[in-house]
Amino acid sequence: MKKLVLLSTCLLLLGGCLQQEEAVTDQLVGPLDTVSAVTLYGSDSRRIIDEVFAAVSDIDMRMSAISQDSELARISAGAGGPVAVSSDVFALVEEALAISAETNGAFDPTIRPVATLWDLGSGNERIPSDNEIAEAMSKIGYARVTLDKTTRGVSLDSLGMALDLGGIAKGYACDTAVAILKKNGARRGIIDLGGNIYAYGTKLGGKPWVVGVRTPIPGENGYFCTLNVSDKAVVTSGAYERFFEKDGRRYHHIFDPSTGRPADNGLLSVTIVASSATVADALSTACFVMGAERGRAFLAERRDAEGIFVTEGMDVLLSPGLLGQVEIADGRFRLAGEK
């Protein structure tokens, strides 16, 4: 009898709890040049998601490198002299430059003249000449950006330079969304800003979220591996989404600031797992540019981020902190070291 009463009570409570934990999901198309999706559980989810989307739109408006009205556009237009910006734009530029220095320029927010030259996604992509690349390279360099904390001034040292936070702004928006969730007492959810994932809290019952990593093959929407995470960002950079092909060779959108050409080091994708989505976003680009060997060594020293590197040979290499944490879900891929 006691067991029967206990079982009934548990079922009642479980049914009641799950009714209160109904998921609310919504999507925002356009800002940050992507589709943003937020899934939350709890009674106030709709209002919190609206607040997140308002913040994402605001970040896009002020930090877009494309819009003529953004603060970033003002910095680029005012190259050669200081331009005063808002405190969060200043802080993000400062963080971007710090990561540039740490990665010896593998991540570089001044890469825009090179990206503009290649013009991926325009429909007019072409392989620039060596002279054109050299000319564009003369306009980049993170060390040529100076900051003045007292005036919140950002200076690019010569005309033609441009600042682009595209490699870090989605991560920053993700962290901003997390702050909004925390402020509003949200307990669990998934933030997905164009594939930049933040797994917030845990699933019902305290289990970690299961995040898949996109199969880095064009046209395939599945995932090749999974990992369990809570309160972590998972961000991927890969050569499979934006590219063009010429003479059997693929030219993708992740440029190596040391060559002015698409990074070419045998990688298909790099995924970074970190508490900070801002860091994860920037380091996924940096580690892709560095390549598997240098990238893993860099992460092993840095310790606040872990990485999954996928080579063109479908080998999956992990940074030390992820060993034993990643499960392969697609038989075409294999963890390095496994037969």
Partner: protein
């Protein structure tokens, strides 16, 4: 409290438990059983909703930049052709599960799967980092 009182309370709790279990199962069932449809919107306005079952058929829509062809059927939906310069939406491939979406940003077009099984139910992941 005599034996009869305990029996009444136990009976009540049993019915309550069964009710809770029914709601639990019904909740999951709702999510799984609704037919999967592809909802197509442009600039936030829904322009078509199509069942994803049956043979593949093409739907022509007008985006912010120009025409798009969305192919829906055999449990999938994808952008078969687009007027956008980057063709990222065409390369994005097929979507199959509730919650998945594919967008053509220059055309401000979004195709998303509603109803049917979640990617969760099929693949046991809560999100895909890409």
């Amino acid at each position: 409290m005599n034996r009869r009182d305990i029996l009444i309370i136990a009976t009540f709790l049993l019915f309550a438990g069964v009710w809770g279990a029914v709601k639990l199962v019904a909740g999951f069932g709702d999510a799984r059983d609704a037919e999967a449809v592809a909802e197509i919107s442009v600039a936030g306005k829904i322009v078509d909703i199509l069942p994803m079952s049956g043979e593949e058929r093409d739907v022509s829509i007008v985006g912010a930049l120009g025409p798009l062809t969305v192919r829906v059927g055999s449990g999938t939906a994808y952008v078969a052709a687009s007027s956008c310069p980057s063709q990222d939406c065409v390369r994005a491939g097929k979507i199959t599960s509730r919650g998945q979406c594919v967008a053509c940003l220059p055309n401000r077009a979004l195709i998303r799967v509603k109803g049917g099984a979640t990617a969760n139910a099929n693949s046991e992941v809560d999100a895909i980092a890409e």
